[in-house]
Amino acid sequence: MRSAADGQCGQETVVDRGVAALGRLDIVSANAGIHSSAPAHEMSESAWQDLIDVNLTGAWLTCKVAVPHLIAGGRGGVVVLTSSVAGLKPYANIAHYVAAKHGIIGLTKTLAQELAPHRIRVNALSPTQVDTDMIQNQMAYKLFLPAIEEPTRGQFRVASQATNLLPIPWVEPRDVSDALIFLASDEARYITGVALPVDAGVLAK
């Protein structure tokens, strides 16, 4: 069902309809995100605003429309927000992304406080580069290799791997999904307010 994290396409209806059709809501993955790049002082107002709208405000709106269903269910629940290693450390030339992803960590911890009495757990995922269209493009390649005119995937692979401790260029989407399932399951029933890195050691580097 079509929706938009900025709420313009009637997301509330989507969640309401989904819950009506499927009977309940237990797990929320606030995952939608975008990426762009520019030095902070050269960034356009619209580039800043779009990214904050989707990556931060969109995550809040997702929670805002979903949480009432979790509370109404009376069975607790799990909210997993997709942050990033950029939610825990800075990267040059993506100030809006770093600010939004740091914001997600603050939102996660605040929601964890607010929702604990309902046994709703709230955690964040902090992946390093994940092998998706969001990083496999010229804009992302240029971010990692600003000195090269038209960086290749091979060059990006080397540069991306240099950010990680483990000898891998990026993680796969299923690695992030594995962490999400762990947090969403009862195996993590007492884990809340945590930012879980899936980062090949970026943060420990």
Binding site: R119, P167, A188, Y190, P197, G201, A204
Partner: protein, 278 residues
């Protein structure tokens, strides 16, 4: 053909006679791993509650074997590197390999900074911090020699990330474990050996269900009971639970030990009912 999330792997666990260590052994065995288990099976002078015994360790052996998994159990002291090396050498010889390390052995005592005895400080640091280092030092050569990477999980604590009054030695040791974890993660990444730490809040074991802990949490009462402790313990977290169970810590350990966390290293994972963000 064995199945499970760590099928065919071998795990080394310290403090395995009971509590979290036994729970880790059982959970990993349920998921297909064989176990090398060690425990002091004896007392430590500054610790005021009874520690695990040889009978406890024998019970861990029985429980793992009842899952049709193999276990090599030895009496060993994390303050004595040679005893760890011997247990590991014999365990790896018998079980054929080493993949997972759980540096879990730990003790608890309490006292204000000025009241803590030199002995209590030394024993705490020797077991809860240096013992973790000795465990890793003894195990890492086996992991590297295997050439298949590996996963080391250090048991720290919420007290490894925030302070609690009247246990400066415990807080210092557990913070030290966090630093050790991060350093090892950087050193061992080229070998595809991952290193992470667990940070539980109060776990329902003999280490917390005793008068030392009850008095630590309820200094306002002359003779605090389990119920008095439960009330104070619950207040340290956000979720409405008194404490977490050993199986909750084991679930996190299993996740970090398994390939599901194959790209997670250098991470401090709380199992804390929200204690860190209260």
């Amino acid at each position: 053909m064995r199945t499970g999330r760590v099928a065919g792997r071998v795990a080394f666990i310290t403090g395995a006679a009971r509590g979290q260590g036994r729970s880790h052994a059982i959970r990993l065995a349920e998921e297909g791993a064989d176990i090398i288990a060690v425990d002091l099976c004896g007392e430590i002078t500054s610790v005021e509650y009874p520690l695990g015994t040889a009978d406890d360790l024998a019970e861990t052996v029985r429980l793992v074997e009842s899952l049709d998994r193999r276990i090599v159990a030895r009496q060993a002291d994390v303050r004595d590197a040679a005893s760890l090396e011997t247990a590991l050498r014999q365990g790896v010889a018998e079980l054929g390999r080493l993949d997972i390390v759980s540096a879990n052995a730990g003790i608890l005592s309490s006292g204000s900074l000025t009241d803590l005895s030199e002995l209590a400080w030394r024993e705490m640091i020797d077991v809860n911090l240096s013992g973790v280092w000795r465990t890793c030092k003894a195990a890492i050569p086996h992991l590297i020699a295997g050439g298949r990477g590996g996963s080391i999980i250090l048991t720290s604590s919420v007290a490894g990330l925030k302070a609690y009054a009247n246990m400066a030695h415990y807080v210092s040791a557990k913070h030290g474990v966090t630093g050790l974890m991060r350093t090892l993660a950087t050193e061992l990444a080229p070998h595809r050996i991952r290193v992470n730490s667990l940070h539980p809040t109060q776990v329902d074991t003999d280490m917390i269900q005793n008068d030392v802990m009850y008095r630590l949490f309820r200094p306002d009462l002359a003779n605090p009971t389990r119920a008095d402790f439960a009330e104070a313990s619950r207040a340290t977290g956000l979720l409405p639970v008194d404490w977490v169970e050993t199986r909750d810590v084991s679930a996190a350990l299993l996740f970090l030990a398994s390939d599901e966390a194959r790209y997670i290293t250098g991470t401090a994972l709380p199992i804390d009912a929200g204690a860190l963000i209260t």
